[in-house]
């Protein structure tokens, strides 16, 4: 009994110290590493940011752990991609008891509010259509112009959370926008020659990237979103690739290469495994790196294909 009493007392002391966390910096938690990188560009040394899911994992299928609750509990701002992609984050918010980051508060930011959403399904949705997101295709960060909008949104919200640093965030935002805008112009110049080129992707995740740079997605290895490639579907993909003389197959590193290698072997299409988020491979250290690496890989593969075609002619 004495032991139980001592335990209760110890717990009460701990309860009394609940508010004792030193918060020199604005604590921010994001569901993905891309959002975390943009936050660190804007907030720099005035924020402490943690991205829960990095590019080596599929954000559709991320496994949350109890230790993450502590990170979320300290957050003053929680940023999600939204559109149902990172819904796993909601039980972390609930488990953290952090009422400052609940839906509808200033501490809850759904980054999808600032972008034009593509592929919003109309009518009934069910499993026969695969893993279709009811609020549209959620891979919007892969359009770097959306990256600009996300940065602006984050800067505005950081200014609400930490108003004393408003000017600091504004200056960093201007710097980031300048850097990213210059990069976007460069990427557009490089990909201008390939406008209208059709490519193949593994998952329907590169729509925003292609929309930004004028590429078209001819087909995906998945017969329906989230449904693993089947032999009969891969046969159709091979026909499409051969018929359209498609040269590039773009996929994320966390998907199995087996189906892509099969199509490559049958058709000669070049498989490009590119990180779609920060941390997806060694070269993807920042959001700008992620897009740059994809542009580099696609440009290089399409240039090779074009020079090969010329030699054949």
């Amino acid at each position: 009994m004495k032991l139980l009493y001592a335990f209760f007392c110890a717990m009460l002391v701990l309860l009394a110290s609940t508010t004792g966390f030193a918060m020199d910096k604005t604590a921010v938690v994001t569901t993905t590493s891309d959002l975390a990188n943009i936050v660190s560009e804007i907030g720099n040394d005035r924020v402490e940011v943690i991205g829960l899911c990095d590019g080596s994992h599929d954000p559709h299928d991320f496994e949350i752990r109890p230790s993450m609750v502590i990170k979320v509990r300290k957050a003053r701002l929680f940023i999600l991609l939204g559109m149902g992609l990172d819904q796993w984050a909601l039980s972390l918010i609930d488990a953290s008891r952090n009422s400052g980051i609940r839906f509808g508060t200033d501490g809850y930011l759904d980054a999808s509010v600032c972008v034009t959403k593509l592929e919003i399904p109309q009518g009934k949705i069910d499993g026969s259509m695969g893993d279709v997101h009811p609020y549209g295709n959620p891979h919007y960060w892969l359009d770097p112009k959306n990256g600009l909008a996300i940065a602006e949104l984050i800067a505005k919200r950081l200014a609400v959370i930490a108003p004393d640093d408003k000017e600091y965030f504004k200056a960093n935002l201007a710097e980031f926008k300048k850097k990213l805008t210059a990069k976007i112009e460069e990427w557009e110049r490089r990909l201008a020659a390939f406008k209208g080129t059709r490519i193949v992707t593994y998952h329907r995740s590169w729509i925003y990237f292609c929309d930004c740079f004028g590429l078209d997605v001819a087909c995906e290895l998945e017969p329906k979103p989230g449904i693993p490639p089947s032999p009969s579907h891969l046969a159709k993909v091979c026909e499409t690739v051969q018929g359209g003389k498609l040269g590039v197959l773009l996929m994320e590193p966390f998907y199995s290469r087996k189906a892509a290698d099969f199509v490559a072997e049958k058709t000669g299409v070049k498989v490009l495994v590119c990180a779609n988020s920060v941390g997806g491979d060694e070269g993807a250290k920042t959001y700008v790196d992620v897009i740059e690496n994809v542009v580099n890989a696609v440009c290089s593969a399409l240039e090779q294909q074009a020079s090969g075609d010329q030699e054949a002619d």
Binding site: H57, S99, Y108
Partner: protein
């Protein structure tokens, strides 16, 4: 002179007429060219208009419907249970669990049958920014062959009292260990571990109780949650009318009190160790017929490694110690309140140990070892149970899986195979488990 002028004039006239005729031909050709050019321009404009129209339609298909775009572009994605397309209607989901059992023992229940084992209907939504409501109804086929219908869980969650506490009020699965608090369709195996069946009466889902549970997330730099609960658990069935012998089922019943300490440590970015200790104090399922007090302690230990891509390893263990107090010897059926005779203390132990490895987006394999001493007045080492079960799971989609589980029962030397198909329709969520 006139003779000379006349032919010249005639020549000139003919030449002039020819010139005039040639000039008429030229202008007609020019007119035709002009006409073709005009036709081409008109056609070009018509095609451009049609292309423009098609592009507009394509863009409309790709983007938000214009009438809703202004609102949608400014609104965050609604939370589950907040779908604005169907106002005031909670998230509605159905879980189905189909199990086929094949065994070489003729005594095995439901041998060589494929049965719809369990249906679960969940209604979930927010009542207030900080209050959630969850109602989970189920129809569950027990081993006696009957479907049992009821409320599996139905509770309100007050999510952040004083920014540190969560209060559940209503009916829910008793928060004991790892597996008991998890619905059957969420587990990594097709049946319940032997220890859950023998100590908790778990036949696919653990015992539920009506009551309250308060969970405190302690302000330590690592995850430590402490829960206390007070419950009234439905008395488990163990006697049929006219049946004198006790059926060999056992579960917590009537008033029960639970507590759980749950902690977790991130060993690295990819490794996590979870440690939990749970306790239950209350009555056993025979309490209505004779004294049946029970104390249950459960320790759980889970190591989790998250690898690249979809690779994931879970090593989960639960150890149960049961202290059951029943009347001694033949004096077994007195009035529990008036009983003053001697009491036998039964100390029983059970465990399961599971290793599960996900090696692909869709596949995982596992191995579970079970051991339990039966919670009845027999010699524990003479009536214990143990088994081993390799498990293969194919996760077809995010909400459906096909599982094959082979079990070898060391005591009955029984070989059995379970083939399970679990599916979910509609948005379904559970708290952090």
């Amino acid at each position: 002179m006139a003779v000379k002028i006349a032919p010249c004039a005639a020549i000139l006239l003919v030449f002039g007429l020819q010139l005039a005729a040639r000039s008429d031909d030229d202008s007609a050709l020019e007119q035709q060219i002009e006409q073709l050019r005009a036709d081409m321009d008109a056609m070009k404009m018509a095609y451009e208009h049609r292309i423009g129209e098609l592009e507009r339609q394509l863009k409309e298909l790709k983007t938000t419907v214009p009438t809703a775009s202004v609102v949608e572009a400014a609104s965050p994605t609604p939370l589950p249970g907040m779908k604005k397309e169907t106002p005031d209607i909670p998230d509605l989901s159905v879980i189905g669990n189909i199990v086929g059992k094949f065994s070489d023992s003729h005594d095995a229940e439901n041998r060589n049958k494929v049965l719809f084992s369990e249906a679960e209907v969940a209604l979930q939504g927010f009542l207030h920014p900080d209050i959630r409501g969850d109602v989970i109804l189920h129809a569950h086929r027990h081993e006696d062959g009957d479907y049992h219908y009821g409320v599996c869980e139905g509770y309100a969650t007050f999510m952040s009292l004083l920014d540190a506490f969560t209060l559940n009020a209503g009916r829910r699965l008793l928060p004991l260990g790892k597996a008991n608090a998890v619905h059957g369709h969420h587990r990594h195996f097709a049946d319940s571990p032997l220890v859950s069946r023998e100590f908790l009466g778990d036949e696919g889902h653990g015992p539920s109780g009506n009551g309250v549970n308060l969970a405190w997330l302690t302000p330590l730099p690592f995850f430590l949650q402490w829960e206390v609960g007070a419950w009234h658990v439905d008395a488990a069935h163990h006697h049929d009318d006219g049946e004198e012998e006790e059926a060999l089922t056992y579960a917590p019943s009537d008033e029960c009190y639970t507590t759980r300490l749950w902690s977790s440590f991130a060993l690295s970015d990819d490794d996590e160790l979870e440690i939990g200790v749970s306790g239950l104090s209350g009555y056993g399922s025979h309490f209505e017929h004779h004294t049946d007090r029970m104390q249950l302690v459960c320790a759980d230990l889970t190591y989790r490694h998250i690898g690249e891509g979809y690779h994931r390893l879970i090593f989960q263990n639960e150890f149960f110690w049961l202290d059951r107090r029943v009347p001694s010897g033949a004096d077994i059926d007195p009035d529990p309140a008036a009983y003053t005779g001697s009491i036998t203390e039964l100390d029983r132990f059970g465990l399961y140990s599971l290793i599960n490895y996900r090696f692909d987006k869709t596949w995982d394999v596992g191995l579970r070892y079970d051991y339990v001493q039966k919670p009845f007045p027999v010699e524990p080492d003479k009536d214990d149970l143990s088994s081993i079960s390799p498990i293969l799971t194919w996760n077809l989609t995010e909400c459906s899986k096909l599982r094959l589980q082979y079990t070898y029962d060391f005591d009955d030397k029984e070989n059995s195979v379970l083939l399970q198909f679990v599916f979910g329709i509609g948005p379904h969520s559970h708290p952090l488990e």
